[in-house]
């Protein structure tokens, strides 16, 4: 399950995603089909907006 809450749209997650699974337009959207749950976006998010369970 992927949950995004409090995203400001800084795009750091998109810049570091190795699987091209993230698009950002004001806020991040993660493509669950491309996501392998590597947690890189969770680590890089400066505002702790990404939750991947």
């Amino acid at each position: 399950m992927i949950e995004i809450k409090g995203c400001v749209g800084c795009s750091l997650c998109m810049l570091v995603c190795k699987f091209n699974a993230i698009r950002v337009f004001g806020e991040a959207k993660i493509d669950e089909e491309k996501c392998v749950k590597c947690m890189r976006c969770v680590d890089y998010c400066p505002v702790d907006a990404v939750n991947i369970a």
Binding site: C10, L15, V24, F25, D43, P46
Partner: protein, 384 residues
């Protein structure tokens, strides 16, 4: 004496370097997996996409940051922008120079400088009293430099910044971008046996003769320098704090096949939501595999609606050019343009003598990172 620095942004690392050089044992705490905060870059599709700043230093080599880096022997080359600025107005481009502004407007400006001590007014009021071109330039300048609007600031607050511009002139571009400065500071800090701990989050602070830091470990420090702004610092202390307002913005990173700006200065955009743009690959081609255009837009409304407007304006300005939007980055809340709007900073001190605040929530009277450098010097007075 032991010092902890919370946050490895430019303010945190400048402080760490100064303190380490003065003989303190310094540890920098960084919660993220990289250092530099909003003053570094991540390579994406062959472009050094910045995490925040625009790979530009407001006063180049000559200003407060340039001077401080020299004093610290931080080895970074900063190329002066030539021309310093250009103006885009109604589809036409003209070099930024004093003679563009009507004498009547300049006269009004000087009069207001003289009168501001006894009769300060809002910058909005001033901008309404001058000609349209100058008023639009003022708006664009504030948007580019601070991500604020004329109604956000009083006239007297821009006087020290105006003086800094007269003294130190226009911008410069660091070769290697923001990251080159961050790396030089890191190298310095480590050469003084300072430590930078990434992925190490500070969970709480307990004030006292020594300040206790609760992180992966519990440790006491003689001095703590916080680079995360007043609001988040007080949160770590478990104290309530009514925060000042942050400045908000949007940054677009755009790849072009051929150069649009064709120089290393700022292109101020007048009469639009977008405030300005630069093309730093003209100074350092290694910052992008093709031309990298960075566009900045101050923001105060709905993020997505503002981005729609910005993209429409970019399409209009770049008409006839082939371009690709590499990234759209918005900045607000706890990842803002500035943690406190320019002119509303309340200094670097806290109620605890051994806890100080640096960074873009506690700047000195200058633009962006040059303001941060001034703030750092002020915060560390008495310690170094």
């Amino acid at each position: 004496m032991r010092v902890a620095v919370i946050g490895s942004g430019i303010g945190g690392l400048l402080s760490a370097n100064l303190l380490a050089e003065s003989g303190y044992y310094v540890e920098v705490y960084e919660k993220l997996p990289f250092i530099g905060g909003r003053f570094t870059s991540i390579n994406y599709k062959g472009y050094e996409v910045s995490t925040g700043a625009l790979h530009m230093i407001p006063h180049g080599n000559r200003g407060p940051l340039g001077k401080l880096l020299k004093r610290l022997n931080a080895n970074v080359e900063i190329v002066d922008s030539k021309p310093e600025g250009e103006i885009y107005y109604n589809g036409e481009r003209v070099k930024l120079k004093k003679s563009l502004f009507p004498r009547k407007t300049l006269f009004k400006f000087y009069i207001n400088v003289l009168l501001s001590k006894i009769n300060d007014k809002s910058l909005l009021e001033f901008s309404k009293s001058i000609d349209e071109f100058s008023s639009k330039f003022l708006r664009s300048f504030l948007g580019w430099s601070f991500s604020i609007f004329p109604e956000d600031i009083s006239f007297s607050k821009i006087i020290p910044i105006y003086k800094q511009i007269l003294t130190y002139r226009g911008p410069g571009i660091p070769i290697g971008g923001c990251k080159a400065i961050i790396n030089a500071l890191k190298e310095n800090i480590e050469s003084f046996d300072g430590k930078i701990l990434i992925k190490t989050r500070v969970k709480a602070l307990k004030p006292g003769e020594q300040i206790r830091i609760f992180s992966n470990h519990v440790k006491d420090y003689d001095i703590v320098v916080s680079d995360i702004g007043r609001k988040l610092t007080y949160k770590l202390l478990g104290m309530e704090y009514e925060s000042e307002v942050e400045s908000r913005g949007i940054k677009y990173t755009i790849a072009l096949n051929e150069s649009f700006i064709e120089h290393t200065g700022v292109l101020f955009i007048l009469g639009k939501n977008i405030a300005g743009m630069n093309e730093v690959t003209n100074a350092d081609p290694n910052l992008g595999k093709r031309v990298m255009l960075q566009v900045h837009q101050p923001m105060r409304g709905d993020v997505k609606a503002e981005i729609e407007i910005g993209l429409r304006e970019i399409r209009e300005i770049l008409k006839g050019y082939k371009y690709e939007i590499i990234s759209i980055q918005s900045y607000y809340n706890d990842w803002p343009v500035n943690r406190v709007k320019t002119g509303l900073d309340i200094g670097n001190k806290t109620q605890f003598p051994n806890l100080v605040i640096v960074g873009d929530g506690a700047k000195g009277e200058d633009i962006e990172v040059d303001g941060i450098a001034l703030g750092v010097m002020k915060a560390l007075e008495g310690f170094i």
